[in-house]
Amino acid sequence: MSPFKVLVVDDERDFLESLVRRLQRRSVDAAGVTSGEAALEHLERQRADVVVLDVKMPGMNGIDVLRRIKQLYPEVEVILLTGHASVESGVEGLALQAFDYLIKPVKLDELIERIMEAFDRRKVVSELAGTPQPADS
C-alpha cells in the first residue's frame, strides 16, 4: 500500500465505490465517503494526506468542504474532481488553494499522478512548517 492516505468524496455511490476499488487495486491506500459532512467526520478520526473531492453534492458542497478542510487541516491537499465543471467553481476552488481542479472523466493514471504530486507537496509544506511529517514509506 501507498505511504499516503487518500479520501475520496463523491455522492454517487457507484462511481465512488468503483474509483476507490480501482485506486486500491493500484496500491493506493484509499477510502471513500458519500458526503462532505461524512468527509469532515472522517478527517476528525483519521488522517488523510490527499482528499479527492466532488464539487456538486447535496448538503455541503465541495467548495464549502474545501474551505473547512483548509481551515482545520491546512496541510491536507485537496484535488477537486467534478462532473459539472464551471469557470466559477474552478477559480473559486483554486483560489481556496485546491491542489488541482480536474474535470470528469479523468484517466486513472493521471489521477494517481496528481495524487502523488499532491502528497509530495504536502511533505514539503510540512517540512517547511516544521510540523510532524506524514508517514513515509
Binding site: L19, A85, I103, P105, E117, V125
Partner: protein, 862 residues
C-alpha cells in the same frame, strides 16, 4: 580595483560561514515544485488551444458545448498557472489575475449574449434557421435549411436544437452519468463498452424530457403532422459534425412514419443512437470523445413518395470527372440505404443540360410504403416492375437540381431525394460526397531527391520559394514576401513574417507549440522539428516544402506547388463566422510573440494564450533568480562535492537530484539529476586541465602576441579564495551559480520527458581584466554559444543565451559542453589580446584543444 575585489571576496567569505538554513531549502523545494506544476499547466493549455484550433480549421463543425467544456478546462489551468507564477516570484505579477478576469468576462459575455435571440431556443422552424448555425441545428438540418432558403424543394419541418439536447441530458442527470461512466470504463474490454453503451441507450430511452421541451415538441409535432402524409412525421439525427469529415453515415437513427403523439419517444430513440455501440466504436476510431457528442434532431412532415433514392453528383471513384449517378427505388428509400434492395441506376452526363447516358433496372420486386401506423411492404405487380421509378424527364430534372446543389455547396454532393405523387421532386438531404483523389494528385511524389525528410506536419500543404534562414545578424523585417522561412527554433517571434511566408521549416519544435498554432491560424504550410533544416538548406536556395508529405525538395517542384492537393472530401464553403468563434479567439490567439518587445507586458495580455506565453517566459526569469537567493545565503542541507575543481561545488537537492544516502563528501556519481550529471560530466572532463598553467608560448602566436600576456595567474591563488558554486538540482532540473576567477556564470536548465519543457538558460558577466579584454572574452563566449545553436545576446561583457524545446539527448550534450566551456573560458581575459585571438580560441574549443596545445594547426593566427 583592489577595493572592488576585496568587497567581492568579503561577500564570498560571509557566504561560506552561513549557518545551515532549513527554511531556505524547503522554500526552494516548494518553489521548484510550483515551477514544475506551471510547466505542466502551460502544456495542458497549449494542448487545449491546439484542439480548439484544429476543430475550427476543419470547418467549424463544433458545438457550443465543445467550446464551453474546453474553455472551462483552460480557464482552470490558466488560473492555476498564474497562481504558480506568483508563488515562485513572491507575488510579482498580481496584474496577471486581473487580465485573466477581464478575458474571462469577455468570453462569458460572448457566449451568453452573442447568441442573441437564439440563446435558449429549443425548437426552431427550419425556415427560421440562418447560415452559420450548425452548432445549434447540427449539420444535416443546417444544409437543408440552406436549400430551403434558396427556394429548393424540401419538406417542411423544425429542429430540436443542441440546446434542447443539453437540457435533456442535464435534466435527466444523464450528462453527469455519462461523464462518470466514461471514467469508470477507461481501459475496459470491448464487451464492457458494448454493455455500457446498451445500458446508456436504455437510460436515454427511459429518461424524462424537461417539461418545457416535452410541451413544445408535442405542440410543434402536432402542427407538422397536419402537413405530412397520413398525418405522420419523421425524426432524423442532425448531430453536430455529422455529414462532414466524419460522416457517421448510417450510424445514427432515423424514425420514419411516426405518429405525432409519439414524438417524445421517437426523439429519445434518435438521441439514444448517439450511444449505440457502433457510434461509440466509430467515435473511438476517429478520436472523438463520447462526452463531446451533441445532437440536434430534425423533425419533418412525412412524405409518401412513389419513388426515392440517392444521387451522387459525380462518380465517387471517378476523381471528380465521372458521370452523375442516380439510384432509385419505388416507394420509400429505406431499403436502398440499408442495402436490402437493388436499386435501378441512371447514369447522366454532367452537361448543361444533363444528358441521360443509360438506365439499368435492379429488378426490384416490392416497395416500401406507408401503412395505417407506420411502414409497410407491397409486392410490385408486373406493370409496376416494368415502369421505371423515374421518367427520363424526371431524371434530367433531378440531375439539374443535383448540379445546382453542387454549385451551391461548392463540392460534389451526396443527395437523398423523393418523388411525390403529383410528380414533384423533393430534396431530403444533401451532404458532401467523398470522392477519391484524382490521379494527378497521387502522382505527387516527384522524382527529385529530397533535401531532407522527417519532422512533423504542423499544417499540411506545399509551398515553394527562396529559403530565408533566420540567424543571428539577420533581420526578420528583411524576410521577402513568398520566401520560405527556415529557422532553428519554432519561436513565436517569427510570427511577424508568417503571413508573407510560402512555407515554414524549423529544426526544433512540435505541433503544439506557439508557432505551429500560428501557422495553422494563418494557413501557412509548416514542417517543424526536422532537426537539420538550417544545416541542409542554404540561404537564398530555392526550395519546395511538402509539409503534408514531410519532405523538402531542392528547386521548385511543379506538381507540388500547384493548388493545394485535393483531399478525398472537399471542404464545405465557409459561411459567415459564427459569433462564438470570437470567444474561441480569446482563448487561442497569440499577440505576445516577442519577449524582447516593450509590449511584452501583463497589460497586453488579451487572450489566455497571451497569459500563458507571458507566464512561461517569466517563469524562466524567476527560476534564474532562485540562484541569486542562494548566492547571498547558502541553504542548509547543502552538500559539498568531493571533486577536483577550481572552486567548491555545493549541491542542494530539491527532490531526487542526489542519490538517496548522499551525505557530506558527496561523490560525483551520487549526483543523479539528469541535467546535473551532464553538466558535471563536462566540468570534470579530464581533457580540460584547468590546473595546468597555460602554455606561455604558443607556436605561431608568439610572433603576434607578447608572451607575458599569455601567463595566467597561478591557479592556487584562485582556488584558495574559497569560492563557492551552487548547484540546485532535482531529477530533471539544475540551477547552477558559479564565480570562477572574477566572473559570474549562471545556468538554469530543465530536461525531462516532455521536449516542450526542455530549456537551458545561461548567463555570464564580469571579469577582472580591463574593459577591452572583458568584452573580448564575452565575444568569445558569445561565439561559442552561437556555435552550439543558442540564441545569444551580448551587451558589453554580459552574455545571455537561451535554447529551448530540444530533445533531452541534445540538451544533455549541450550541458556537458557548457561544463567544459565554463572551465575553458575561465580567466580567458588574460589571453584576450585581440579579436584574432577570439577566432583562434573558438576554433581550439571546437577542436577540443582545451589546453591550447600547440599543434601547428591551421587555426593559429599568423
Amino acid at each position: 580595483m583592489v577595493k572592488r575585489l576585496s568587497k567581492f571576496l568579503n561577500r564570498l567569505g560571509r557566504n561560506g560561514n552561513g549557518a545551515p538554513d532549513k527554511t531556505l531549502h524547503g522554500d526552494l523545494k516548494l518553489r521548484f515544485r510550483e515551477f514544475k506544476y506551471l510547466l505542466r499547466a502551460n502544456n495542458e493549455v497549449l494542448a487545449i488551444i491546439a484542439e480548439i484550433e484544429q476543430q475550427l480549421a476543419e470547418g467549424g463543425q463544433v458545438g457550443l458545448d465543445f467550446l464551453r467544456s474546453r474553455y472551462i478546462a483552460a480557464s482552470a489551468k490558466v488560473y492555476k498557472m498564474i497562481r504558480h507564477l506568483n508563488h515562485i516570484s513572491g507575488g510579482r505579477y498580481p496584474q496577471l489575475e486581473g487580465a485573466f478576469h477581464r478575458i474571462r468576462a469577455d468570453i462569458d459575455q460572448i457566449l451568453e449574449e452573442g447568441g442573441g435571440s437564439r440563446s435558449g431556443v429549443i425548437i426552431l422552424p427550419l425556415e427560421d434557421l440562418e447560415q452559420g448555425e450548425s452548432h445549434l441545428a447540427g449539420s444535416k438540418a443546417s444544409n437543408l435549411a440552406e436549400l430551403a432558403r434558396a427556394g429548393l424543394p424540401v419538406p417542411p419541418g423544425f429542429v430540436v436544437t443542441t440546446e434542447a439536447f443539453r437540457r435533456f441530458m442535464e435534466f435527466s442527470g444523464l450528462g453527469g452519468q455519462l461523464r462518470q461512466a466514461v471514467m469508470i470504463l477507461e481501459g475496459s474490454s470491448p464487451e464492457d463498452v458494448e454493455t455500457f453503451s446498451h445500458l446508456l441507450e436504455q437510460k436515454v430511452l427511459d429518461a424524462p424530457l424537461p417539461p418545457e421541451l416535452e410541451k413544445e415538441l408535442m405542440a410543434a409535432s402536432q402542427r407538422l403532422g397536419g402537413l405530412g402524409a397520413r398525418g405522420l412525421i419523421s425524426l432524423r439525427s442532425s448531430a453536430v459534425g455529422e455529414d462532414t469529415q466524419s460522416s457517421f453515415a448510417g450510424l445514427y437513427r432515423s424514425m420514419l412514419g411516426v405518429i405525432p403523439a409519439d414524438a417524445a419517444q421517437a426523439f429519445r430513440a434518435v438521441v439514444a443512437a448517439l450511444y449505440s455501440p457502433e457510434a461509440v466504436v466509430y467515435r473511438r476510431q476517429r478520436g472523438l470523445l463520447d462526452q463531446d457528442a451533441e445532437m440536434a434532431v430534425l423533425v419533418q412532415a412525412m412524405l409518401e413518395p412513389v419513388a426515392s433514392g440517392v444521387m451522387y453528383t459525380t462518380d465517387p471513384l471517378g476523381g471528380g470527372k465521372g458521370p452523375l449517378l442516380i439510384s432509385a427505388v419505388r416507394g420509400l428509400g429505406q431499403g436502398l440505404v440499408d442495402g436490402s434492395v437493388d436499386p435501378d441506376l441512371y447514369r447522366l452526363e454532367r452537361s448543361h443540360p444533363p444528358l441521360l447516358l443509360d438506365y439499368s433496372s435492379g429488378g426490384q420486386g416490392e416497395s416500401l410504403g406507408l401503412g395505417a401506423s407506420g411502414l409497410s411492404r407491397h409486392s410490385l405487380d408486373a406493370a409496376g416492375r416494368e415502369e421505371p421509378p423515374l421518367s427520363e424527364g424526371q431524371a434530367l430534372e433531378l440531375a439539374r437540381l443535383g448540379l445546382e446543389l453542387e454549385e451551391r455547396f461548392a463540392c460534389p454532393q451526396d443527395v437523398e431525394w423523393a418523388l411525390t405523387e403529383p410528380g414533384r421532386l423533393v430534396i431530403l438531404q444533401s451532404r458532401p460526397l467523398q470522392v477519391l483523389a484524382a490521379r494527378c494528385g497521387e502522382a505527387a511524389a516527384p522524382s527529385v531527391e529530397p533535401l531532407l525528410s522527417g519532422g512533423q506536419t504542423a499544417r499540411p500543404g506545399a509551398g515553394a520559394g527562396p529559403a530565408f534562414l533566420v540567424r543571428p545578424g539577420v533581420e526578420l523585417k528583411d524576410f521577402p514576401s513568398g520566401g520560405v522561412l527556415v529557422a532553428k527554433s519554432s519561436s513565436p517571434a517569427l510570427a511577424a513574417a508568417l503571413p508573407r511566408a510560402a512555407a515554414l521549416v524549423t529544426d526544433v519544435g512540435g505541433v503544439a507549440g506557439h508557432l505551429a498554432s500560428l501557422s495553422r491560424e494563418m494557413g501557412v504550410p509548416a514542417l517543424v522539428g526536422t532537426g537539420l533544416a538550417t544545416k541542409l538548406i542554404a540561404p537564398g536556395q530555392e526550395i519546395t516544402v511538402d509539409a503534408g508529405g514531410r519532405r523538402v525538395y531542392p528547386g521548385r517542384v511543379a506538381q507540388l506547388t500547384g493548388p493545394e492537393p485535393s483531399t478525398a472530401l472537399c471542404r464545405p464553403r465557409p459561411g459567415p463566422t459564427p459569433y462564438w468563434h470570437q470567444a474561441a479567439g480569446l482563448i487561442t490567439k497569440l499577440n505576445l510573440t516577442d519577449p524582447h518587445s516593450p509590449r511584452f507586458t501583463t497589460a497586453r495580455c488579451a487572450t489566455f494564450h497571451d497569459i500563458i506565453r507571458f507566464g512561461h517566459e517569466m517563469s524562466f526569469k524567476e527560476m534564474f533568480r532562485l540562484g541569486d537567493k542562494v548566492g547571498r545565503d547558502p541553504g542548509g542541507g547543502a552538500l559539498r562535492l568531493e571533486a577536483r575543481l577550481p572552486f567548491e561545488l555545493w549541491f542542494i537537492d530539491l527532490g531526487d537530484g542526489l542519490a538517496s544516502g548522499a551525505g557530506p563528501d558527496l561523490k560525483p556519481e551520487q549526483v543523479v539529476s539528469i541535467p546535473g550529471a551532464a553538466l558535471l560530466e563536462g566540468l570534470l572532463d579530464p581533457s580540460v586541465d584547468w590546473n595546468r598553467p597555460r602554455p606561455v608560448s604558443l607556436k605561431g602566436l608568439a610572433s603576434v602576441f607578447s608572451a607575458s600576456l599569455l601567463t595566467p595567474p597561478k591557479d592556487g591563488q584562485v582556488r584558495d579564495m574559497g569560492q563557492r558554486a551552487y548547484a540546485i538540482v532535482s531529477a530533471e532540473y539544475i540551477n547552477f551559480n558559479c564565480r570562477v576567477g572574477y566572473h559570474f556564470t549562471a545556468l538554469d536548465s530543465f530536461c525531462g520527458a516532455q521536449q516542450n519543457d526542455n530549456y537551458i538558460s545561461f548567463r555570464f558577466h564580469g571579469g577582472a581584466a580591463t574593459e577591452d579584454r572583458r568584452q573580448l572574452r564575452a565575444e568569445l563566449i558569445e561565439r561559442l554559444l552561437s556555435d552550439m545553436d543558442f540564441s545569444v545576446e551580448r551587451t558589453g561583457d554580459q552574455v545571455s543565451a537561451f535554447i529551448k524545446k530540444y530533445p533531452a539527448g541534445r540538451i544533455l550534450e549541450l550541458l556537458e559542453e557548457l561544463g567544459r566551456l565554463v572551465l575553458f573560458t575561465r580567466q580567458m581575459d588574460m589571453l584576450m589580446s585581440g579579436r584574432p585571438m577570439v577566432d583562434w580560441l573558438a576554433q581550439a574549443f571546437a577542436e577540443k584543444n582545451y589546453n591550447l596545445a600547440s599543434n601547428g594547426g591551421e587555426g593559429e593566427p599568423t
